[in-house]
C-alpha cells in the first residue's frame, strides 16, 4: 500500500504496483478522471499535474516516485473553477472538444508561478502541450489574460 497526498488529502492506494504511472492511479484507482491520457510518453502534456507546485507529466511519473510530494490535479486547482487560469480560459472560450485543456491549464498555472509575465517566446516554449483541435491562438491569448489577472 502507498499513501499519497492529492489535492490536500492523504489517500491510500492499495493493490497497485509502485511502478504504476500516477496518471492511471489517479484515473482508474482514485476516480480522479480530470487528468487525461494522451500519449503515455510525455509528448503531449494532456496528463500534466503539479507535484510540489511544479508541472509534471503523470504518465511518466510512477506512484513510487511521488513519495511525500504534494500532488495537485485539476480537481484541486480551485474550489469553484475560478482559478485565474480557468477564468481566462472561460473568457476566451478556449476549448473546442476540451480534452487537452485540463493539461493546458495545469501547464499554464505552473508556468505563471515561475514566470508571472512571460514573453511570447516563453509562452511558446512553456505551452508545449498538443491540442489537435488547434486552439493555440486562444490559449496564447488566455495565458496573457491570466498573467495580467494574477499580477493584479
Amino acid at each position: 500500500m502507498a499513501t499519497i497526498n492529492v489535492n490536500g488529502k492523504d489517500l491510500d492506494v492499495t493493490d497497485v504496483p509502485i511502478d504504476t504511472p500516477l496518471l492511471w492511479v489517479l484515473r482508474d484507482h482514485l476516480g480522479l478522471t480530470g487528468t487525461k491520457y494522451g500519449c503515455g510518453v510525455s509528448e503531449c502534456g494532456a496528463c500534466t499535474i503539479h507535484i510540489d507546485g511544479a508541472a509534471a507529466q503523470s504518465c511518466v511519473t510512477s506512484l513510487g516516485d511521488v513519495g511525500t510530494g504534494k500532488i495537485l490535479t485539476i480537481e484541486g486547482l480551485s474550489d469553484n473553477g475560478d482559478h485565474p487560469v480557468q477564468d481566462a480560459w472561460r473568457d476566451h472560450n478556449v476549448p473546442q472538444c476540451g480534452y487537452c485543456q485540463v493539461g493546458q491549464m495545469m501547464t499554464c498555472a505552473a508556468m505563471l508561478k515561475d514566470k508571472p509575465d512571460p514573453s511570447e517566446t516563453e509562452i511558446e516554449e512553456g505551452m508545449w502541450n498538443i491540442c489537435r483541435c488547434g486552439t493555440y491562438n486562444r490559449i496564447r491569448a488566455a495565458v496573457k489574460t491570466a498573467a495580467q489577472e494574477m499580477q493584479k
Binding site: 504496483p17 482508474d28 487525461k36 509528448e43 480537481e75 480560459w89 472538444c97 485543456q101 511558446e124 493555440y136
Partner: protein, 783 residues
C-alpha cells in the same frame, strides 16, 4: 469489386455494407420509451418532431402508456418551467450540442438558463446521428425551428385563452408569453397544464421568427459543457465508468488482415492486476466497423492491462498486406496518373487542345497517409448480460462515438441481437475528425464483456491509435493544362489515383468513388472550355477511412496549387488569375456534371461561382494582397479558394522562410461563406482550428508504412502542430448570409494547404508538390 459501389454516397455505402448476420426485428418500443421518458417530470408538455417535419404533441404522462409513440427530436416543457431539449448529434468540439438546442430555444422564446440539454442514445428514429460530413446544422436547423415554433404556438394559444385575446397578439421571450402593447406576461410554467388541453397546430400553419427577432441564433454564447471542461468534470469516453468494470488493452496485428500465431498468456497473467487473457477473432470479409481481432488482456486497471499486453509476446501471421510499402506505393500511384484512367468528367477535347497548345504545363502532386490522432484515443465501455445458454439478453454501451447508430449496427450482429436492442449512450468526444464514426472499438468492448460477464472498458493506447487507424488515403493527382497566348487555360486534364474508402466496405474495391472525386476533381469550378477528369485504380493495403475534409485534403491541394503554377506560367498575378479563370458569376449545372452535391438540393445549395469569387476577393482585400509584390525574398503570400461541404472559403497565408529553409506561418486570413450561421464564435473556432490542422497536415503530416506496418506510433514520430507552429494571427471573416446553412467544420481545410504552399513558392521560388513540407529543402540564397 463491384464497380456498382462507385456511385453510392458514403451514407448509402455504409448502409449497404451491413453484415449479413444482422438481425431485423420489430422495434423494442417498451424499452426505448422508458429510456426516452426517463427524467421528464410528470405533467410536462412534450413536443416530438420527427425528422420529416411531422410533429406530435403529448403530455409526458400519456407518452408512458401510448404504444405507438416513437422517440423523436423533442422539447419538453416541465410544470416548473424547465425546458428539456434533446441533443442527438455528438459533441466533439464543434459546439453542436449547444448550437442545435439554441436554435430550438430561440424559436420557442426559452430562457437559456432554464434549458436542460439531454444527450440522445443511438436510435434510428431520431434521423441521422452520424456526426460527420459537416451536416448537423444543415440537416436539423429547420427541424429544431419547427419543434420550437410548435411549442411556442401552443403556449401562446394557452395564454391567449386566459387573456381572451387573439393569439397573434402574444409573443414569447425568456420563458414568458408576453401580450403585445401591454406589460402583461405569463411564465411558461403556468401555461403547461392549459397547453396540454389544446389541439396542436398543423406544422404548415406555424409562424416562424424573422431573423431580426432572433435572440440566440447568430449570437455568441459559451458551449454548455464549458464549466465541466474547465474543472475536469466533463465525461469523455475514456472517463466512462460502469460499476464493477474491468479494463482491457488489446494486442492487434500491426498489419491489417493478419492473425495471431502464438502468444504467452501465462506471462501476461503473472502481471499484478491482470485478470484474464481473451482471444478476439479477426474480422470477416471487408473490415467495415468490425473488430480487427487479436488478444485482449483484462485487468483491474488500464496500466496493468497494458503491462500484461507487453508480456504477451505475440507472434503474428501477418498475411498478404505485409508487403505494403508506402514509398513504393506512392511511386506506383504517380505512374498510374500518368496513364489514361476511367473518365468521370469530359467536356470538349482537353487532351487534343493541350497537345496543340502554345504553352503546356503539367505537374503531379502527392499526399501521404494521415492519421486522425484525436487527443482522446478511441474508448468505450460495454456491459453485456447473457442468459444460461450464453445468449445476449441486454447490451449497453457508453462510447465516445460520432455515430451511435453505427455502434448499434456493428455491435448488434456481433452479439446476435437486433440492432435496436443495443443501447448506446454518447459521452463527450475528445475530438473525432472522422475516426470515431467507425466503432470497431465498441465491438471489441461488447465482445469482451459478453465473455467476461462484466462491464469492460476498452482503451486504445496512442500506439494503438496510430498503428490501427482507418487512415486517410495515400494519393497522387496529375494535372495538365494547355494555355492560349494570353495564358488562359483552354484545356485542363486531371487524373487522381488513391485507395478508396469504399475498400473498407467491399473486398477488392479499387477505384475512387464518384463522391470522392467530387471533392475537388470533378467539381472543378474554373471556366475552361475543355475539361477531362479521370481516376485510376489503386488497391488498399490498410483500412482507409474519412478524415476531416476527406478528399479535399489532396484534391484541392492539387487543383489550387496547379492554378498557381498556371498563373506563374502566364505571368499573371495569382489572385487576378484565379478571378479570371473562375469566370462569370454563375451556377454550375450540377445535374449536367452529374455532381451529387452531398445530396443537397441544388436550389438551396447551388454551386455558386459568385460566392466563391466573393470569399476569394474578401480574403485578398483583408490581407492587403497587393503588397505581395513588395515582399522581400524569404517572405510570401499565397492564395487559394474552394467550395467544400457546401461552404465556400478563400484563404491567404503569409509565410517567412529562413535562408536555411525553415518555414513559419505568420498570418492567415480566411473568408468563409456557409450561409446562415448559428454560432459565430464556434465558426471562428472551427476555422482557426482548421488552419492549425492544415498546418499539421501540410507541414508534418505523413504516416509512412513499411512491411505493412506504420513507421510511427506516437507523437514523437507522427508530428502535429504545436503552439510554436501557430500563426501570430488568424483573421476570419464570416460572410453574413441568410442562405441555407452549409458546412463549417471541414470547410476550413480545403484551401489552406495550397495557399500555404503557394506562399512558400512566392517566398522561395520552390514548389512543394509532395506533402509534407518538412521533407523539402526550402533553403534559398539572395538573388
Amino acid at each position: 469489386m463491384s464497380n456498382s459501389l462507385q456511385h453510392l454516397t458514403l451514407r448509402q455505402l455504409i448502409d449497404k455494407s451491413r453484415l449479413e448476420t444482422e438481425i431485423q426485428s420489430p422495434l423494442g418500443k417498451a424499452i426505448l420509451r422508458r429510456d426516452f421518458l426517463k427524467g421528464i417530470a410528470a405533467g410536462s408538455l412534450v413536443i416530438l418532431t420527427a425528422t420529416d417535419g411531422t410533429t406530435t404533441v403529448a403530455a409526458s404522462d400519456d407518452l408512458a402508456t401510448d404504444e405507438n409513440l416513437s422517440p423523436s427530436l423533442f422539447v419538453a416543457i416541465e410544470p416548473d418551467g424547465t425546458v428539456q431539449i434533446l441533443a442527438h448529434r455528438s459533441e466533439m468540439g464543434t459546439g453542436i450540442r449547444t448550437a442545435l438546442p439554441r436554435v430550438l430555444a430561440d424559436e420557442l422564446g426559452a430562457d437559456w438558463d432554464k434549458v436542460v440539454i439531454r444527450q440522445a442514445k443511438g436510435d434510428k428514429r431520431l434521423g441521422d446521428q452520424n456526426t460527420d460530413g459537416s451536416n448537423s446544422i444543415r440537416f436539423f436547423y429547420k427541424t429544431m425551428r419547427i419543434a420550437g415554433a410548435m411549442a411556442r404556438t401552443m403556449l401562446q394559444q394557452a395564454a391567449a385563452q386566459q387573456w381572451n385575446v387573439d393569439t397573434n397578439r402574444c409573443t414569447t421571450k425568456n420563458n414568458q408569453v408576453l401580450l403585445k402593447g401591454t406589460k402583461k406576461s405569463i411564465n411558461f410554467s403556468k401555461l403547461v397544464a392549459a397547453a396540454l388541453q389544446l389541439t396542436a397546430p398543423k406544422p404548415e400553419a406555424l409562424k416562424f421568427k424573422s431573423a431580426d427577432e432572433f435572440q440566440y441564433i447568430g449570437k455568441n454564447f459559451p458551449i454548455t459543457d464549458l464549466a465541466d471542461i474547465l474543472t475536469g468534470k466533463a465525461v469523455f469516453g475514456i472517463d466512462a465508468r460502469i460499476d464493477g468494470q474491468v479494463y482491457a488493452v488489446i494486442a492487434r496485428c500491426p498489419v491489417v488482415g493478419g492473425v495471431v500465431s502464438s502468444y504467452d498468456a501465462e506471462a501476461a497473467k503473472k502481471v499484478p492486476g491482470v485478470i484474464d487473457v481473451i482471444d478476439l477473432p479477426k474480422f470477416q470479409g471487408a473490415p467495415l466497423f468490425q473488430q480487427l481481432g487479436g488478444v485482449a488482456v483484462i485487468a483491474t486497471g488500464t496500466w496493468a492491462a497494458w503491462q500484461g499486453r507487453d508480456a504477451l509476446n505475440v507472434k503474428w501471421d501477418e498475411g498478404p498486406n505485409a508487403t505494403y510499402d508506402t514509398e513504393a506505393f506512392s511511386a506506383a500511384l504517380k505512374e498510374t496518373v500518368n496513364k489514361t484512367g476511367q473518365t468521370l468528367r469530359s467536356q470538349g477535347d482537353a487532351t487534343g487542345v493541350i497537345a496543340k497548345a502554345a504553352t503546356k504545363v503539367s505537374a503531379t502532386y502527392s499526399v501521404p497517409h494521415l492519421a486522425h490522432a484525436p487527443m482522446e484515443t478511441t474508448c468505450a465501455v460495454a456491459d453485456v448480460k447473457t442468459n444460461d445458454k450464453g445468449e445476449v439478453t441486454s447490451c449497453y454501451l457508453q462510447a465516445a462515438t460520432q455515430n451511435p447508430q453505427a455502434v448499434q449496427q456493428a455491435v448488434g450482429p456481433a452479439m446476435g441481437i437486433p440492432n435496436e436492442q443495443v443501447s448506446c449512450d454518447v459521452t463527450l468526444l475528445g475530438a473525432g475528425f472522422g475516426r470515431k464514426s467507425k466503432p470497431d472499438y465498441c465491438v471489441e468492448a461488447a465482445r469482451l464483456s459478453r465473455i467476461l460477464k462484466k462491464p469492460v472498458h476498452v482503451t486504445w493506447t496512442r500506439e494503438d491509435d496510430l498503428r490501427h487507424d482507418y487512415f486517410h488515403t495515400i494519393s497522387a493527382v496529375h494535372c495538365e493544362a494547355g494555355l492560349d497566348a494570353a495564358g488562359r487555360p483552354m484545356g485542363w486534364l486531371m487524373r487522381g489515383a488513391y485507395p478508396s474508402i469504399t475498400s473498407t466496405f467491399a473486398v477488392g474495391a479499387d477505384t475512387p468513388a464518384t463522391w470522392e472525386a467530387e471533392m475537388g476533381l470533378t467539381d472543378l469550378p474554373y471556366d475552361v472550355p475543355n475539361i477531362q477528369v479521370e481516376v485510376g485504380k489503386a488497391k488498399a493495403h490498410t483500412r482507409i477511412g474519412w478524415l476531416r475534409a476527406v478528399c479535399h485534403i489532396f484534391q484541392n491541394f492539387a487543383v489550387s496549387s496547379f492554378a498557381d503554377e498556371l498563373a506563374q506560367a502566364a505571368g499573371v498575378d495569382p489572385y487576378e488569375y484565379l478571378l479570371d479563370i473562375l469566370g462569370d458569376d454563375r451556377q454550375l449545372d450540377l445535374a449536367a456534371l452529374k455532381l451529387g452535391n452531398r445530396g443537397a438540393n441544388p436550389n438551396d445549395y447551388p454551386y455558386d461561382i459568385g460566392r466563391l469569387k466573393n470569399v476569394l476577393a474578401r480574403a485578398a482585400k483583408h490581407s492587403n494582397w497587393a503588397r505581395h509584390t513588395d515582399l522581400p525574398q524569404g517572405q510570401g503570400l499565397g492564395i487559394a479558394c474552394c467550395r467544400s461541404f457546401l461552404g465556400y472559403t478563400g484563404h491567404v497565408v503569409e509565410v517567412s522562410v529562413t535562408p536555411a529553409g525553415s518555414v513559419s506561418v505568420d498570418h492567415v486570413w480566411c473568408s468563409i461563406d456557409s450561409g446562415t450561421i448559428v454560432s459565430p464564435d464556434r465558426v471562428y473556432a472551427q476555422v482557426e482550428g482548421a488552419a492549425l490542422m492544415g498546418i499539421s497536415q501540410a507541414m508534418y503530416g505523413e504516416m509512412p508504412m513499411k512491411n505493412g506496418k506504420t513507421v510511427h506510433s506516437n507523437f514523437d514520430g507522427f508530428q502535429v502542430a504545436r503552439m510554436s507552429d501557430a500563426p501570430q494571427e488568424i483573421n476570419i471573416d464570416i460572410i453574413k448570409s441568410d442562405a441555407a446553412p452549409g458546412g463549417v467544420g471541414e470547410t476550413g481545410i480545403g484551401s489552406f494547404a495550397p495557399a500555404l504552399c503557394n506562399a512558400i513558392f512566392a517566398a522561395t521560388g520552390k514548389r512543394v508538390r509532395d506533402l509534407p513540407i518538412k521533407n523539402h529543402d526550402l533553403s534559398w540564397t539572395n538573388q
